[in-house]
């Protein structure tokens, strides 16, 4: 694939193993082998089980992870009480998964020329995407778990020139205790084809355990892929998600990640830009409340010339919540004329909240335009006073500033019904009535 000399970012880092974590990891693997059965032989030994002394997990509390997930249970669709359609008014094809199991009755698959769309378990002999040196399955322990146990998810092939008429909504619902739900979405969009995907995760109030979702998408030459990803999980589910996006020449790929609710969320996005003239876009908004933890790790790997990437993550942290942002941008020696933009802005809405933000740019080409900005601050007190001096209440004034702050991220969502529903759910979670009667664009 890439014949150039390996760069710093490819060099294997000697990551130390941590005995207690290794023991927890091994215990989980043997429990899962028994309950779920091994689907693919992924070498989990090659990478350390995550712990706080590994850079990628430095700010991510993994130690607390184990206690909920060491006794995995297989829950079935029958246990579900999941809402019929999480996005009212959205005209979409639907794949519903409950506790990692495909719910055929609740789903509505596309029947469309040039589109092969089915649950992964029903794909028969059709080939899954290869796991290669850039796949997270080989470099990340939790992704490795996904590789080892995943048997369900979306299998999607969009043929050359086909534009799917409606978005595909993947709704995953978790309920019950001891969940260990693994999904792998396997997507390929061929030459000049186009598709929009909405990934929506929910969980019931009493749910605990973990959800592990890996999305692999190959975006062909001139193809377009939009993913709107919304995480709105109650209970104490720990959610780990990987997006492994490979882009061909002049392709366009976007992932928008909105974390409405989640006790413990880790998103790991990697865009490999392999063809010239491609554009990658990754935006996110996270608004953790009391006790919640949200981590967004992103990698954009500019491997060839004349590509652009744009990244915009916004965080607002309430109560005693914690956020992490790590944004890596690699510009390889051949990737001249790259234009890469990264922005991460955060507001600490409480003095007990904390945010760990780290932009990491490694640039090996000399004719490039790369900019990045990272801020952690508080609500603008002048703006709050100005609004209050007009009779707007303090909480309403803050809600207004929040809406403005994450407005550009929400506007980026590919499907407008998703945006409206996200706004509604955020307003509900945070008790903002001000949003409901004047969304910003109705004037």
């Amino acid at each position: 694939m890439d014949t150039a000399k390996p760069q710093l970012m490819d060099r294997p880092k000697a990551e130390a193993k941590h005995a207690a974590s290794e023991a927890s990891g091994a215990a989980l693997v043997s429990a899962l082998d028994a309950v779920l059965g091994v689907q693919a032989d992924v070498a989990l030994d090659a990478v350390p089980v995550p712990h706080r002394r590994v850079e990628r997990w430095k700010y991510t509390p993994v130690a607390t992870w184990w206690k909920d997930v060491l006794a995995p249970e297989v829950n079935t669709v029958a246990d579900a009480g999941c809402e019929a359609n999480p996005v009212p008014g959205l005209d979409a094809y639907r794949l519903v998964f409950v506790n990692g199991t495909f719910d055929a009755a609740a789903s509505d698959l596309p029947v469309h020329t040039g589109v092969t769309c089915m649950p992964l378990s029903q794909r028969g002999d059709a080939k899954r995407q290869d796991v290669d040196a850039f796949s997270p399955e080989g470099s990340d322990w939790f992704a490795g778990l996904n590789g080892r146990y995943s048997q369900e998810g979306l299998y999607l092939r969009v043929a050359q020139g086909v534009e799917l008429d409606h978005p595909i909504l993947i709704h995953h619902h978790t309920c019950g205790a001891g969940a260990f739900n693994v999904l792998r979405h396997d997507i390929a969009v061929a030459l000049n084809a186009s598709v929009k995907i909405v990934q929506w995760s929910t969980a019931a109030t009493g749910a605990d355990g973990s959800v592990n979702v890996l999305t692999r998408a190959d975006v062909g030459q001139g193809a377009r892929l939009h993913i709107d990803k919304v995480q709105d999980e109650e209970g104490t589910v720990r959610h780990i998600a990987y997006e492994d996006i490979r882009q061909g020449r002049a392709s366009h790929a976007e992932v928008h990640t909105i974390t409405v609710r989640g006790a413990w969320v880790r998103n790991d996005l990697a865009f490999r830009i392999n063809g010239q003239g491609a554009h990658a876009e990754l935006n996110g908004a996270f608004l953790p409340g009391e006790g919640e933890f949200v981590d967004n790790h992103t990698t954009v790997d500019h491997r060839v010339a004349h590509c652009t990437s744009s990244e915009n993550y916004k965080g607002i942290l309430y109560g005693k919540s914690t956020g992490v942002f790590n944004g890596k941008v690699f510009v390889r020696p051949d990737a001249q004329q790259t234009n890469a933009y990264q922005q991460n802005a955060n507001i600490l809405a409480s003095d007990k909240a904390s945010m760990n933000a780290k932009p990491e740019l490694e640039i090996y080409a000399d004719d490039v335009k790369c900019s990045h900005g990272c801020t952690v601050g508080q609500f603008d007190s002048d703006a709050l006073f100005y609004a209050r001096s007009r009779g707007v209440g303090l909480e309403a004034a803050k809600a207004m500033l929040v809406h403005a702050f994450i407005g550009d991220v929400l506007k980026g969502l590919a499907v407008s019904e998703v945006r409206l529903e996200v706004e509604h759910r955020l307003a509900e979670k945070h008790g903002w009535d001000v949003w409901s009667h004047h969304p910003n664009d109705d004037a």
Binding site: R388, S389, R390, M400, A404, G407, V434, A443
Partner: protein
């Protein structure tokens, strides 16, 4: 309407207002003039409820209520308005939604339903005419990218929308050219009524040619040192503030 009695206030341990007293009756327009650093803008901020200022003494009665007990939102809803010297830019919040939240805040306080879309837009149209506010500015983010004159016109537009009982204009003339000054002043004058009072804070007598005050006060070092009719402003313009300062010492 407003009765300030021996008001003392400080910011970051620096005492700014040192026993200021002033009574404003319904329908009256009072002007406060004074040199830089005399406490004019502090007075405006303290009355509007800015929390950075510490009240160290005195009282303010607003229409029978204790103003200093209310927070900024409550003061606005009770009918107090401050036209800012430096209107704040709020990127991403459209002017029109900002005003709708403000108008509805006031209506909620009065126990009324939120305003209907059509009624609100009609009201916006009517009030915008008062200060010749460009229609495009209504949908732009609050004050973002507005010229100095547009910002000040927007302040008066907001005042017209909220119809306060008592309005403080904090150096509304600063940064305005003659035409904008005329437009802003006409907007203010159109709102003068026997029930509404104004406190006009300014450096220059010029504004008072347009908004003619009933009383003029001179603020020096946190106190009102002289009060008079509108002629006092002319005297100040002619002789400068040093004249008053010397006068006090003497």
């Amino acid at each position: 309407m407003l009765k300030i009695n021996e008001l003392k206030a400080s910011v970051e341990e620096a005492s700014i207002l040192k026993g200021l007293s002033l009574t404003i009756n319904p329908g009256e327009v009072h002007a406060i003039m004074g040199p830089n650093g005399s406490g004019k803008s502090t007075l405006a901020s303290v009355l509007a409820g800015r929390e950075e200022y510490e009240i160290e003494g005195g009282s303010v009665d607003f229409d029978g209520a204790d103003l200093l007990e209310m927070d900024a939102t409550e003061r606005a809803r009770a009918g107090l308005f401050l036209a800012f010297q430096y209107p704040v830019e709020i990127p991403g919040v459209s002017n029109i939604n900002f005003m709708r939240a403000a108008v509805n805040g006031k209506r909620e306080h009065e126990g009324r339903e939120p305003i209907k879309g059509k009624a609100f837009l009609d009201m916006v149209k009517e009030k915008a005419q008062l200060v010749e506010l460009d229609g495009r500015l209504r949908n732009r983010s609050v004050n973002e990218g507005f010229s100095g004159g547009e910002k000040k016109r927007n302040e008066i537009f907001q005042m017209a929308m909220l119809e306060p009982k008592f309005a403080i204009l904090d150096e509304t003339d600063s940064g305005l050219d003659i035409d904008a000054l005329r437009i802003v002043s006409e907007g203010v004058n159109a709102m003068r009524s026997p029930e509404r009072s104004f406190l006009v804070i300014t450096h220059y007598q010029r504004l008072l040619d347009y908004i003619v005050p009933d009383f003029v006060h001179v603020l020096v070092d946190g106190r009102i040192v002289r009060s008079g009719g509108k002629d006092l402003a002319f005297e100040l313009e002619e002789k400068g503030y040093d004249w008053i300062k010397e006068d006090i010492v003497a």
